[in-house]
Every structure is written in structure tokens, then in C-alpha cells.
Symmetry: C2
Subunit: 214 residues, 2 copies
Amino acid sequence: MTLTLHAYWRSSASYRVRIALNLKGLSYAIVPINLLREGGDHRRQEYLARNPQGLVPTLEVDGVPLTQSLAILEWLEEEHPLPPLLPRDPICRAQVRSFALAIACEVSPLCNLMVREYLDRVLKLDTAQQQAWHTHWIARGLAACEAMVAGGTGPFCFGEAPTIADCVLVPQLYNARRFGIDLAPFPTLLRSEAAMLALPAVQRAAPEAQPDAA
Amino acid sequence: MTLTLHAYWRSSASYRVRIALNLKGLSYAIVPINLLREGGDHRRQEYLARNPQGLVPTLEVDGVPLTQSLAILEWLEEEHPLPPLLPRDPICRAQVRSFALAIACEVSPLCNLMVREYLDRVLKLDTAQQQAWHTHWIARGLAACEAMVAGGTGPFCFGEAPTIADCVLVPQLYNARRFGIDLAPFPTLLRSEAAMLALPAVQRAAPEAQPDAA
């Protein structure tokens, strides 16, 4: 099985998939998609044929393009079940997925490049307004996530092994720091992140470790 | 197993879960959560203890709260596999999930009540600017979804049986009409919606069929 990941080094969704691929111990080629280049690689017809949303990442599996990071993580879990990134108990699986979706639905999409461009170019918000927007949604989302895992025994979000919740959390905290968000109110999230960042597989997935890192 | 759905009649995410529960033939009680009441039922401490994001729906399973509609749909699929709402082939499953996530991540969260309140009260956008915002994200998202299923043989999004893609599509098209979006460019989506709306289980999930419909 040949895996090719079309990704951008600093994209949160790309980072999620890299973490999961590395934790599963899978080999893959990376095709950098430069979102910031004039015109944008993601807007080219060749890329849109693989990913009609024009988003990263796309994982090609023997040439078949899979899109949406959480759908890719579920596919990985089904096809490469070891080590598992979801617990076995159905209620626990739902809780892990809910945590991941709370970030993937209500935080990331409100602060991604498409939205930033709209706030800047269409609504012409000033820098302070744009910062307030990002701070609002990121801090609100992380507060809900902290509540979802506070009281857990750790070290990861949901116990002693990484799950897709951790795969989504690490890129979101990386992103939050870019926006200068105060992370002190989220000690459980920071503990999980520290446990993840201690893993070589996660370190190799870091944005700065990618071939297209600028 | 006792199922209690905390939901708001016109919420897209609540509507998704009602459709899936009905297609699975499951019985459940409904607890209306009035998002528009002064203060908002979803902001009360009692509700936040179940759903830290303060969003609807929450599905209580023997008293254990499950949140995030797509996590609930996955739980339903695992615990009540018949009739299936995901195909068997792993690649096809990924494609169905990707379609559902394209709506659940990049359309719904940009147009939900929390964002509408921010656009109105914080950014003080006028009516035309707010409408332009919603039209932009909904039309863009639906165009990508149309591309993801165009060429399929139907009648549903991914073949001859409903999947979670259809469970997410129907509420999104209902929502798009509220915002006056022109749906003519999306014939494949409209075909899938028509197939869904012909099913009594889907009809019973309609917003207007709910006890709290205003």
C-alpha cells in the first residue's frame, strides 16, 4: 500500500494526520502544498480534483484520494489498528471522538486560512479585531476541551495511551501559541501535550521537521 | 438501554441525530433545549455539566452524556449496526465520513448561533454583511459536497442506502433554505435529499415535527 500525504507544514489538520501515521509506524511520501504561494497550490485544478474543498491534507492511498483529517484518522484506525488510537469501550470511543470534533468543528474552522482571509479582505477587520476573534474561539474551545478531560488520570487526554484526541490536541495548542493565547487555564491539556511531545513519533510530525518548513 | 436526546428543534446537529436514531428504529425521549430563551437553556450549569461546549445535541445513554453529533452517529453505528449508515469498504467509509465532515466542520460551525451572535453583537455587521457571510460559506461548502458525489448513481449520496452523509446533508439543506441560498447548482445533493425526505423515519425527524417547534 502506497501512501502519499499532500500537506502544508503548518496546517493543523496536516499535523494531525502526520502524528497518526507516525504513531502507527507507517511510511509515506509527502507532497508539500504551499497555501501561501501566489494563487495557492490548493486552488490549482489538479489539487481540487483530489480535494474539492481545496483544503489540506489529502492522503492518497494507492492513488485514491482521502480527504478530511478525521476521516483519514478513522480509515487509519480501521486499516492499521495497531497501536490503537481509539479505546475499545464504545462510550469511551464516543468521548474521544467528541473531544476531537470539539476542536475540529468549533475551533479550527473558525481560525483557518480561508476565514482569516475573509476577515481581512472582505470584512476588513483591523489587527486587534482579528486577534480578538481568534482569541475568543480558541480560548472558548480549549476551555470546553479542558472540562472534558479534567479529572482524568493521564498522562494522555484519555488515559495511558495516545488517542485521536491527542492527535488533534497537539496541533491545536501549537496553533494557539501562534495566536498568543494564554494556555495556563488548561493544565490537563498541557499535561497531555507534554506526554505526546515526548514521543519521537510525534516529534517527527512537528511542523518545523517538515521538508517545506519555512 | 434508555436514550434521552437533549435537542433544539431547528438545530442542524440535533436534526442529524434524530434522523439517525429514527433510521435505526430506536426509541428515545426528547428534552427540548431552548437556545433562544433569555439566558439560553444551553448556558445553564445543569446543561453545561453534560455538554461543556454548551451546544446541542446531547444524547444521554443510561444517564451518560454523549456530545458532538458525529461522535453520536459513530456510537450509534457501533452499538446498533442495523441498518448500517456506513458502507463496508474502508475507502468508501472514508469518503462518506469526509462528506459529512465537510459540512460538519466547514459549513455548520461558521453559521451556527454562536457565530451569528458574534457577527451581530461584537463585529456589529449589518444585515447584508451577515447574509453575505452565510451565503459565502454555505454555497462554498455545498459546491464542494456536490463535487464529492456528482457522478454517483444515487439515489442517496453514496448509493442505494442512506449513510451518515445523508443524515448530515438533509439538515444542511434545510438550513441553507433558511438563509435563502440558491440550491439549483447542487442537483446531486437535491436528489439525495429527495430520497431521504421520502422516508417516514426522516420525516419524523423534521424540525417542524418536534415538540418544541415554534
